[in-house]
Symmetry: C2
Subunit: 204 residues, 2 copies
């Protein structure tokens, strides 16, 4: 049962974890959050354990995946891997998380928020192949010329984004594919994120 206070505390705790790669002791946590007593820290941690963010380990509490997602660090950090997107859901939703990959989100520019498994070879000439994991920065807006993850009526697609007034062209980078033409006055188009990089696992 996390309250207003607790969520601010959680944010600080995650920042601490990002910097120190370990959870603080109860005394440290008290100093961090302004508690005067270790037992206040203890109870706070108990609440986090109850909500599944931490778990009890041999020597004190340990982070769970739920906690680690949300830790922003140049050191570790877990990126959700999204394979298939359930119809009618935004891409970045627990439901769509197929797995996690431990990759530094700052390897990518802009910072990656999730990895999307690419299907098909429509972006082949941009060096994006079937099975690649596309690093995506989650944002609802895109600029002319960017590669985007877009949703057109429940369909998720990766294309190059070109806009002229209310007309958007989603261009494949492969002559075998026709550009998709969207008139924003008639059709709905939502940008789920922009290209931030690529991760290609394994053997060609």
């Amino acid at each position: 049962m996390a309250t207003n206070n607790d969520s601010r505390h959680l944010e600080r705790l995650r920042r601490f974890y990002a910097e120190n790669e370990t959870l603080p002791s109860y005394a440290e946590l008290g100093r961090l959050l302004g508690f005067g007593s270790k037992s206040s820290s203890f109870k706070f941690i108990e609440r986090l354990i109850a909500s599944g963010l931490l778990k009890r380990g041999a020597r004190g509490p340990k982070p769970t995946e739920h906690f680690l997602v949300g830790v922003e660090s140049d050191q570790l950090s877990l990126l959700p891997l999204i394979g298939r997107v359930a119809a009618g859901t935004p891409v970045m939703t627990d439901r769509n998380y197929e797995d996690y990959r431990r990759v530094d989100p700052r390897l990518f520019r802009p910072r990656a928020d999730y990895l999307l498994k690419v299907r098909g070879d429509s972006m082949r000439d941009a060096g994006i192949l079937d099975g690649d994991l596309l690093a995506v920065h989650s944002t609802p807006t895109a600029h002319h010329g960017q590669i985007v993850v877009a949703r057109i009526e429940d369909e998720i697609t990766v294309k190059r984004f070109e806009q002229r007034g209310s007309i958007v062209l989603l261009k494949a980078e492969n002559p075998a594919y026709q550009p998709i033409r969207v008139d924003l006055r008639e059709q709905e188009l939502s940008i789920e994120g922009v290209y931030a990089g690529l991760l290609r696992p394994g053997t060609p």
Copy 2:
């Protein structure tokens, strides 16, 4: 001054770190290495600090990059990034390490040992572009059809490897480039590693 014993101990310590994401206490370390006394652990750690593998932190010893390279884990692990290869040196040498990237080596298949910055577009049609970081598994042997990192007389190159008897063809995946033909009876060719995957940071 690491001795025979110490290097076996170091291996175990790295394995512990891979599993626990933290260094053991002196008591745990003693149990791990068969020491009967904490002070033996302490002295062992002191030796590692003296050789630069660990450093002294607020609450006990902390790992340095030198230690982390060599930790094999599905969790963290540091891969050396190799940009330019100094003439006459093997690729995987401290001298050539330009930087490090925290990426799970097991994301790649086979396991990646280092990242090599790709120059040129000779492998463009294999989806390998200029500036990409090629994940490389270090091995001196390659099979027909694999993409390899090869050295031909002080030149490092990434190509597809084809062998017929003593004749090796190193084929670019770009019609603008001619295959390189190497007769092993006349010319020296050494395989520095095989392709294991790709990391492409940032904006296209």
